[in-house]
Each structure stands twice: as structure tokens, then as C-alpha cells.
């Protein structure tokens, strides 16, 4: 650097000032949003319920006397029995229902999370790139999305099952790879409007390269719609998983998921009601709470309310 020696003295003074500077942290938009979310009673309650379900699914199994795949030959098709440790009864094979519900919830949550994360990741990058570069790039990328939309979803799933059939998590990585289409469209639309904002122009005037602009200036400002849509994707994937398991394409025995449990429970709902009620209660409360959280996030992140 030429000729900065004189300036260095000045800058050093500022650098020293920097060390002693007590600059309070500002309120970021995210913090503001969280504050608003906390005021939303339905969302807070839902967060607690979801939190409880997570703990239930992941910690619960360690507290139970029975494992999810262990068969109790003395108790087949038995209603809840506290003395034997079958708090939610047993299924036709004598396996403990509560342990199976916990394992099923675990599985449903994992696949939902994995698939959602994959779809958010691909959707955000794809949509932001298409929207930012625009023109021909955008046209080609979005036509590809249209084609993917047009192809039958279930066909892809069956192909994926053939490939990943043994591994449910990998299967849902695959499903995530199909679920990103809507996310990409939403992100592209948002990007089109964000890139017209003056701060993006300011970044260009500051010499920033396209990738820097996308990562530093566009993606962080997508938080609102992305988070909201992601919270809606989670229940969607849980339902997809239930649907696939119902068709016999999802999780393999002895592992289970909420969808599988319900599909086994529903034919025998009249004779063995505990086989349906338990998993159904968990699934319904999970979906309901996630929807409330999504609503709460939408209100909290709404920029109009700023």
C-alpha cells in the first residue's frame, strides 16, 4: 500500500479507540421477530408441545422397559397394562406400542428434517441464482423446474425406493431433492424483488461479485419466506412419509414411522383402538403445532409490521 504511512498514525488511533469502544449490540431483525413470536401465545404453546414431542421421541425409549422391536410373547394384542410395562398396549406381534410410537415419531421427525433441509438448501441456491442472474439463465433454470413439476412425483419416489429402499434417511434425502421445486419458485420471486433494492446496487457499486451479492445480500433477506415455507414443508413431508408408508414404500420393518403405525392401526381400530389412537394423537398434535408455529413465524417476520 503506497503512501499510507502518514495515515497509519491516524488509523492506529482509531484502532485503539476500537479496543476501548463500548458499542451496544443493536436489535437485529431476527431478534425483533423472535420478540414478536414470543408474544404469540399459540405459537409459544406449540413450540413447547413440539419440544415435548422431540424429547418424547428421542429420550423416551431409554426410559422404557421394552425396546421397539422386542417381542413380549406373554402379551400379544393386549390393551395398556402398567404392571407389564406396556403403557400403551402391544401390537399383534407383542411389541410395546409406546416404544413403537416413540421410534416412529423419531423416524418421522428425522426424515422430515432431512428432507426439508435438503429442499431448502437446493431451493434457495437454485432460486436465488435464477432470480439474480435473470434473463436466459432464469428462463432455462425455471423451465427445468416446470418440467420437473410435470413429471409424476410418485414415479420418482418408486425409482428412489428401488435405489434407497433399505435406507429410509437416504430415501428422504431423495424426496428432499424433489420437494425443492416450490421453494425455488418462491425464492426466485423474492430474489427478483430484492435485487432491485438499492442496497444490492450499492453492493455492485462497491465492487462485489455476483456470488458475494447472492450470499451476503440476497440470501439473508430471504429468511422470512424461506423459514415460513420450510415450517410448512415439514408437515408436508411427514404426510408424504405417512402416505408412502401406507402404500408400503416407506420405512421397513421392524423400524416404523407414524404413518406406518397408523396404517397398521386403522384396520383394527375397532378391536385394538390403542394401536390407532396413540400414533394418531402424536401425528395430529405435531401437524397442528407446526402449522401454528408457521403462522406465528409469518406474523413475526412480516416486514410490514416492522
Amino acid at each position: 500500500m503506497a503512501g499510507v504511512t502518514g495515515k497509519d498514525a491516524v488509523l492506529t488511533a482509531y484502532a485503539q479507540k476500537l479496543e476501548t469502544l463500548d458499542a451496544p449490540k443493536g436489535r437485529s431483525l431476527t431478534q425483533d421477530a423472535m420478540r414478536r413470536l414470543v408474544r404469540n401465545k399459540a405459537a409459544v404453546l406449540s413450540l413447547f408441545v413440539v419440544g415435548f414431542i422431540v424429547v418424547f421421541a428421542f429420550v423416551g425409549p431409554y426410559l422404557l422397559p421394552w425396546a421397539y422391536d422386542k417381542i413380549d410373547w406373554s402379551a400379544i394384542r393386549k390393551p395398556p397394562n402398567f404392571e407389564a410395562g406396556h403403557y400403551a398396549g402391544t401390537d399383534q406381534n407383542g411389541r410395546d406400542m409406546l416404544a413403537r410410537i416413540m421410534q416412529g415419531t423419531q423416524m418421522s421427525l428425522i426424515v422430515a428434517l432431512v428432507a426439508t433441509m435438503v429442499s431448502v438448501f437446493i431451493g434457495v441456491i437454485y432460486g436465488a441464482v435464477a432470480g439474480y442472474f435473470g434473463g436466459k439463465v432464469d428462463a432455462v433454470m425455471m423451465r427445468f423446474v416446470d418440467i420437473m413439476y410435470a413429471l409424476p412425483y410418485i414415479l420418482f419416489v418408486i425409482i428412489l425406493v428401488v435405489i434407497f429402499g433399505r435406507n429410509p434417511v437416504l430415501l428422504f434425502v431423495g424426496i428432499g431433492c424433489l420437494e425443492w421445486l416450490t421453494m425455488a419458485r418462491i425464492v426466485r420471486g423474492q430474489t427478483l424483488s430484492i435485487k432491485e433494492r438499492e442496497f444490492v446496487e450499492a453492493a455492485k457499486a462497491g465492487g462485489a461479485k455476483p456470488w458475494t451479492i447472492i450470499i451476503r445480500h440476497i440470501v439473508p433477506n430471504l429468511t422470512g419466506p424461506v423459514v415460513i415455507y420450510a415450517t410448512l414443508t415439514i408437515p408436508e413431508i411427514i404426510l408424504t412419509e405417512s402416505f408412502l408408508s401406507y402404500l408400503g414404500l416407506g420405512v421397513q420393518e421392524p423400524q416404523t414411522s407414524l404413518g406406518t403405525l397408523i396404517s397398521f392401526g386403522s384396520p383394527v381400530a375397532e378391536t385394538l383402538p390403542w394401536m390407532l389412537i396413540g400414533p394418531a394423537v402424536v401425528l395430529v398434535s405435531l401437524l397442528l403445532c407446526l402449522t401454528y408455529i408457521g403462522d406465528g413465524l409469518r406474523d413475526a417476520l412480516d416486514p410490514k409490521d416492522r
Binding site: L11, R27, S28, T212, P220
Partner: protein
């Protein structure tokens, strides 16, 4: 305080615009062909180091587009933008990026021009990250503090977010971001239009101080003629994407040669009730025509009270008249006596 590199006794030609043209293509609907909107045409002028050039005109006259073409934020269709003799329009991307240290911009809407998810310190330091990658975080922060002080922001504000600031303070942040690379030229695109009156005056004074302190050259784009008069050495008047007049501030405001400039000046409201009542407003009839289908010949003729039939046939060239000023009108000699009576100087 240390000065920027340029503060020579003899002003040099910093920037030269030659035959600049910019068009936009707009879709004319589902079944009609695409239309071409000529935003700028035949733009020629020079900016000397250390001066402030005001660019005025009504909305849609192309003044903001001109600012962005100069900075290469929009690529011009034709013509050259010569920065110290080097044509920016042909510069490879990487070299242009380096040039951006010298050319910066301040925007109209102070809050919209700041990324809402970054802290003030990060926003101001942003150009340094790309343009001066050799600096480490502390060196950047030190420069940020120095610049914040120069624009009148308290150092405690460094970690706050844009939405915690009022419009005037946000504009100071925008100015700090433009100053941090120690530029030679700053394009100010309506920098005070979105601000309250008392804050407007503060920002105008700040720009004037910074200009002296750092030896800046400014291009000041505004629709507010009172503000432009206040800050500019020379003024360029645009109408429908063409230069209609270019002269020093005093010449323009005391003796406008183009009927459009004159009409603009008489339309400016004067904060003085007696003068305002006395004033004979030379109100322009009608509104600015569409730039998609501009009038033939002189584009101003549809609203001009001096217009003759030949104005529709031949486009008036931008001619150099007495005192080296430029005007594009067939009939500038016919314009009435100076403006004093109207403006109440």
C-alpha cells in the same frame, strides 16, 4: 486530516462522456412487438476535478439512468465514459471492479439502500472487503470508525442495525459507505429528496464539508432546483433523455437560455409569500411526453411557447454560445429578458 490523492491546483478533466446512448426494451403486451424506450441520447459533457455538476430534470428524463451509466451499473448501448482518458465501458470486469474505488454512489432512499440484516459497521466496511482484500478485520473497523466520525455518526452506533436509525442518520451511513474507499467522484442520486426539511439542510452541508475535506468531485442528481442551485458549480438540464442546456449555476439561474430551463425555474415554489404572489408563473402546458414515442424534431416543442413549425422538422443541435455555455434550441435568442422579475432576485 490527510487529503485524498487528488487536489491539484489545476483542475483536470476527470470524466468525459462521449455520445452516450442508452435504450431499454420493454414488452408491449402479449401480441404486440417489443417497444424501445430511448432513455438517453447524444450525451456529451466533461466533469473537471473538484467541481459539482448538478443534473436536473423531471421524472423520466433519464437523470438517474445517466448516473448509473457513468458508474457502469447499467451498461450504455453506445458511446464512451472516459475516466482520466480510460474508457470504462470497455474495461474488463476485474479492472472495472478496481476502478470502483474511485467512483461511488449515494442513493435516494436511505433505508432501502442499506441491507437490513447487516450492522452499520459491516455495511460501511462492505466495499473494503472486495476492493481492499488485504485489510484485516481490525484495519477495516478502524477505517469504518474514522469514516463514521467524518459523517457525524457516533462510534457507539457501529453494531446497530439500519432500522434503528432515522432517515437522516441512515443517509449518513450511506455516505460513509461511499466515502470509505476514498473515492474521487461520487454520484449523488437525489440524496436528500426523501428527508425532512431540517435534515435535508444538514445533509447538504455535510456533503459540502466532505467535498472540501476530501477533495471530492460530485455529480448531484435532483429534481429539486433549489437544492441543485445550492450545491452545484455547473448544471446540466435534461429533457427526455437529451441535454437541453449546460452552463454554470449562476448563468442557468439568472439567465436561462432554453425555454424549458426557464419554465422549470419559474415553476419552483419560492418560500417567500410576497414574491410568490407577485410571481408570474410561466406554467408549462401539459406533461412530459412518452419517451417511447417522443415528438419529432425538438422534443420540447409540444410544450414550448416559442415553438415554430420548423421545430418539428429539425432537431436543434447542442450549440456552444457566448461564454462557452451550451444550449439546444433553435430560438434561444428569442427568449425574453433575464429572469429577475420572475424569480425576484
Amino acid at each position: 486530516m490527510e487529503q485524498g490523492a487528488i487536489k491539484p491546483a489545476q483542475p483536470v478533466d476527470l470524466l468525459e462522456i462521449k455520445d452516450l446512448k442508452k435504450t431499454f426494451s420493454i414488452s408491449g403486451g402479449l401480441f404486440s412487438r417489443r417497444l424501445t424506450l430511448t432513455a438517453l441520447e447524444d450525451i456529451n459533457f466533461t466533469i473537471r476535478s473538484g467541481e459539482t455538476l448538478g443534473i436536473v430534470g423531471e421524472s423520466g428524463c433519464g437523470k438517474s439512468t445517466l448516473g448509473r451509466c457513468i458508474l457502469q451499473l447499467l451498461p450504455p448501448d453506445e458511446g464512451q465514459v472516459l475516466w482520466l482518458g480510460q474508457d470504462l465501458t470497455r474495461l474488463p470486469a476485474e479492472e472495472m471492479r478496481q476502478r470502483r474505488q474511485d467512483l461511488q454512489i449515494i442513493f435516494q432512499d436511505p433505508l432501502a439502500s442499506l441491507n437490513p440484516r447487516m450492522t452499520v459497521g459491516d455495511i460501511i466496511a462492505d466495499p473494503l472487503r472486495t476492493l481492499r482484500p488485504e485489510l484485516n478485520k481490525d484495519e477495516r473497523r478502524a477505517r469504518v470508525l474514522k469514516t463514521m466520525e467524518a459523517v457525524g455518526l457516533l462510534p457507539e452506533m457501529i453494531n446497530r442495525y439500519p432500522h434503528e436509525f432515522s432517515g437522516g442518520q441512515a443517509q449518513r451511513i450511506g455516505i460513509a459507505r461511499a466515502l470509505i474507499t476514498e473515492p474521487k467522484l461520487i454520484v449523488c442520486d437525489e440524496p436528500v429528496s426523501a428527508l425532512d426539511v431540517s435534515i435535508q439542510a444538514q445533509i447538504l452541508n455535510l456533503l459540502a464539508e466532505l467535498k472540501d475535506e476530501f477533495g471530492l468531485t460530485l455529480i448531484f442528481i435532483s429534481h429539486n432546483l433549489s437544492v441543485v442551485r445550492h450545491v452545484s458549480d455547473r448544471i446540466l438540464v435534461l429533457y427526455l433523455g437529451r441535454i437541453v442546456e449546460l452552463a454554470t449555476g449562476d448563468e442557468i439561474y439568472e439567465d436561462p437560455k432554453h425555454p424549458y430551463t426557464r419554465a422549470l425555474l419559474t415553476a419552483v415554489p419560492i418560500p417567500d409569500p410576497k414574491l410568490a404572489r407577485l410571481r408570474n408563473i410561466d406554467a408549462l402546458k401539459g406533461e412530459i411526453p412518452s419517451p417511447i414515442n417522443p415528438p419529432s424534431g425538438c422534443t420540447f416543442r409540444t410544450r414550448c411557447r416559442l415553438a415554430q413549425s420548423y421545430c418539428a422538422e429539425k432537431r436543434p443541435p447542442l450549440e456552444t454560445i457566448e461564454g462557452g455555455r451550451l444550449v439546444a434550441c433553435h430560438r434561444w435568442r428569442e427568449l425574453d429578458a433575464p429572469l429577475e422579475a420572475v424569480l425576484g432576485v
